[in-house]
Amino acid sequence: ESHIQYERVGADVTMKCGSMDWDAAVTWTANGTDIDESHLNGSYLILKKVDLTQSGQYSCYEGSSWHLKYQTYLRVGTPPREPVLMCRSNNYPKGFYCSWHLPTPTYIPNSFNISVIHGTREMVCEKDVFPKNRCHIRYLQLFSTVKYKVTLTVTNPLGKNSTTVTFDEFAIVKPDPPESVVAKPVPNNPRRLEVSWQNPSSWPDPESFPLKFFLRYRPLILDQWQHVELSDGTSHTITDAYAGKEYIIQVAAKDNDIGTWSDWSVAVHATPWTEEPKHLTTEAQVTETTSASTSSFMPPPTTKICDKGAVVGSGAVAVCWTAGLVLAAYGVLFI
């Protein structure tokens, strides 16, 4: 018959060999390896100040017959410390979720129980499949001044601990960051960048519960951010960018009336439009040189496709077609 035995780190553990007498001749193994007799007191196995490495399967065999008389799985761990609990509504006004974790691992299985009380009413927090340490609640009432009280109790075989948070409906509202942030240069405008984004998809009704936004931007070479708060719309044109400098841009969101700002969105990079650099040789010389070659090389129309400087989160920068043609012309020159 196999058992599981939970012991605290640092505890002294005594294992009996089932119903064997104290003076019976036995052999103990740990994970299949014989244990030295120095750890035995008669047929009892004594483990002093156990540590995590001593977790494993312990078996006791009768001396002569090697009959398995007892087996246990020792799990060394700790009782739970006070858990960390937070609740947040990123989908207001539908509901909120609470998530938790332990500040230090216990190394043994823990179970969590959460209770949510609103006034005199106990509400059910439905556990999420993923992530595991999370549950969600649908609001039954809106605009209530009565606070919510959420208590999380964590229990394991070595002890229990709990924590409580209390909050009101508005205080925990925090949207997810804006999505699909795009920043692109504005043709023929060396100091402008056009930024656009979308409401977070988790925000269920932006029409009735509009969000406002906070945009921050800086050139990569500087540490100081510029900030702009926008009360409506999901786009903004930066008009004071430094010409030719690559910028990093982020956006955050907040319900128009209540709650706190979201985390910053994924950062996007963009560089304002710049005029094409004029190369040293004249166009006429390039045309003469290319016509001398045997290939019928004809430069296509000089339509700049420099709006490929638009990036979405990846930081890659496209090369203008016309710049490529100039380089190709130089290559022909040196053949």
Partner: protein, 195 residues
């Protein structure tokens, strides 16, 4: 002609709602500032918790998203009419009991009372647009509880202001619902049609 009338009604409704939303936002901001002043002047703990404040319309509502436009307007109007009476009472008591030392509190209370009255008017106008008209007022409304001691009255006043701040948020949301095209026709039928 009917189409032109209904589109002018829709425009007027939209205009009233937009202005009402802005008024609700300003009102909330002023009530929150007033709350800070009130807590400080009355020597209260801002985190004091109250389950139900006697005689005060509670903003808390279930199935809020299922309410019709008319329901929203009627509930809002009843609330702001009640707050008008409650704030007038608080202002009178504050002037009588605390005198000039709390002139700033008195001015702030008076300013919020004015906004509450203006908002109630907005709601009455919106109801008139629905051919329903606002219900008549039922008199001065419930007086503040007279059995309370001085400290309890201060707490009660805190509850009034907190609930008003909550209503200001709800009202902005209610008015936004009214401006949604899908809800333009979800206003309740006229009294002649209802059971």
């Amino acid at each position: 002609m009917a189409a032109a009338d209904s589109s002018s009604v829709a425009l007027r409704r939209r205009d009233l709602c937009s202005r009402g939303i802005r008024l609700a936002g300003k009102m909330r901001s002023d009530v929150i500032n007033l709350l800070d002043t009130y807590v400080e002047q009355q020597g209260l703990d801002a985190s004091a918790s109250m389950a139900v404040v006697e005689g005060v319309p509670m903003a808390a509502v279930e199935h809020w998203d299922e309410q019709t436009g008319t329901q929203r307007l009627l509930e809002n109007l009843a609330a702001y009419r009640a707050f008008r009476a409650l704030l007038a009472q608080m202002l009178e008591e504050q002037r009588e009991q605390l005198g000039e030392a709390d002139a700033a509190l008195g001015r702030a209370l008076a300013a919020v009372l004015l906004q509450v009255s203006a908002f109630a008017y907005h709601l009455e106008e919106l109801l008139r647009l629905e051919s329903r008209g606002p219900p008549s007022e039922e008199g001065a409304g419930p007086p503040p509880p007279s059995h309370l001691g001085l400290f309890e009255r201060k707490l009660w006043g805190l509850g009034v202001l907190r609930e008003l701040a909550q209503w200001a948020v709800r009202s902005a949301r209610d008015l936004r619902q009214l401006t949604k095209p899908s809800l333009g026709s979800s206003l309740a039928p006229s009294p002649a049609e209802s059971p």
